[in-house]
Symmetry: C2
Subunit: 283 residues, 2 copies
């Protein structure tokens, strides 16, 4: 029912035109909100099972791990994805890293330094809430780095991601794609609710003025880093239920593709059962 | 309905006798499995709300955070607590740190060095899956440190925890208390299920032979570190549903005690609404 979603979201190679991708669509899914929420719930058991297999592998020497990169404009729902999609699996096996404005120490290093430190260990599903892509998005729009440096970074990102993939990481990159109009209504909702004021920052409205520049920066970044090893997905995110379902389905699709099997015992199971049966019960 | 649990689990000052604390009881709760599962579910909304308040505070300069320390014999269910109790709140606001056998680098430092590095940041609920207590439990039972060093560590732990509390951390310490018989049946179940073999290690049966030594080490550790600032709770853990409910209730009780309020906006809300209303829509 949801199997068609990953292919429908995959960005084909070549130039990217975000305006041509509808933000309130539900590509690959035939249904509305209620059915979509049911479909997300229905993924839970398999997702949890596969995540535990990945984890189990990690405890027995496998180097495999998954890295989910979440990017998107403010209010696009990275937090919602974390709660509703990642919330379906064992929190022990998930490592979330949020990248804010870099600290002074981080600025003293290359932009990938802090990213390295946030990578998931073997067996984990790592999630980046924002990522090294900020270094070619906000950094470009706000001019924190010059053109030449931004150019260098596209290449550095491709090399970096290729290395991770070579080492056993499967990378899922998602841009949560909202419309400016939807962002406006989400920002207004934050302003209307005192318990959401903490999420609002007047600077968000200054960033919003640069909407077109951000879209252009995303288009270039996605095009330049849409590698075979680590391809991009654009997730229409005006419909929260679809956004959550889509990311969960991408994760499920990825885990299925790993052919995860339960590690074989490296001990004699029957012998251990006998040991337990024969023991003098501990006091 | 579950409000009596925290007091019922709190270890009073003085010598500790684990044998006198029933492992299959449900102290402070009047009901069985079905009611207990319902009660856990019923805590979810308030727990999630309070966790978000803690998080919101953290984004606006508060130093407060919570640290849940989970200790217990193998199979006592630390992982189950993470899934079923911590799973009720936003995974973004939870930081889980699992402490395994120390690495070579960790061994080159004082035992609290790696603990410091795993502490939650402001606004987070940190969970230690095992902790610095291993350094006075397995370290004592297996003789990794001599008596004098173990003695030093009780004091160092008290100083350390008092410092954390002084800096804004609320500490909840739980020993998940299972019986040797219940451990046996859980180990047998692991051996019976090929998809749980990865959790089994023949060494677990060697540790099990030292059951009495471990119980004694727990008793001493709890007595010596059962401070006002960071008191201990013994959570009967033979009933998984009660174990999960009890830890969730302890967490809820703790968060309630923090009187968490939504941060006030440090900007003029109406002005920001006008800015959004007046803007030329971004292209």
């Amino acid at each position: 029912m949801t199997e068609a979603i990953p292919d429908a979201l995959r960005v084909p190679p070549g130039p990217v035109d975000l305006a041509s991708i509808e933000t309130d669509a539900a590509p690959g899914f035939d249904g509305k909100k209620k059915k979509g929420k049911g479909a997300l719930f229905a993924l839970g058991d398999e997702l949890a099972d596969l995540q535990e297999r990945l984890w189990a592998e990690g405890t027995t020497g496998s180097e495999r791990r998954v890295l989910l990169v979440l990017q998107g404009m403010d209010t696009s729902g990275k937090g919602g994805v974390l709660r509703h999609a990642l919330g379906l699996v064992d929190p022990q096996g998930v490592r979330i890293t949020s990248f804010k404005a870099p600290t002074e120490e981080e600025l003293e290093h290359d932009f990938l330094w802090r990213i390295e430190r946030g990578l998931p260990k073997a067996g984990f599903i790592g999630v980046f809430d924002r990522s090294h892509y900020e270094d070619v998005l906000i950094a470009k729009v706000r001019g924190f780095a010059d053109e030449e440096e931004i150019e260098r970074r596209y290449g550095a990102i491709n090399d970096f991601e290729a290395r991770l993939v070579g080492e056993g990481t499967t990378i899922i990159k998602c841009m949560l794609h909202v419309s400016a109009e939807e962002q406006r209504s989400r920002l207004l909702r934050r302003l209307d609710k005192p318990d959401k004021h903490y999420k609002f920052n007047p600077g968000d409205l200054d960033e919003r003025k640069k909407w077109a520049d951000y879209q252009a920066a995303y288009e270039t970044a996605i095009e330049r880093t849409n590698s075979e090893a680590a391809p991009w997905h654009v997730v229409p995110a005006d419909k929260k239920w679809f956004r959550n379902l889509a990311v969960a389905q991408l994760l499920l699709h990825t885990l299925r593709g790993l052919d995860l099997t339960w590690p074989k015992a490296d001990f004699d199971v029957e012998e251990q059962k006998r040991r337990l049966a024969d023991e003098k019960p501990p006091a």
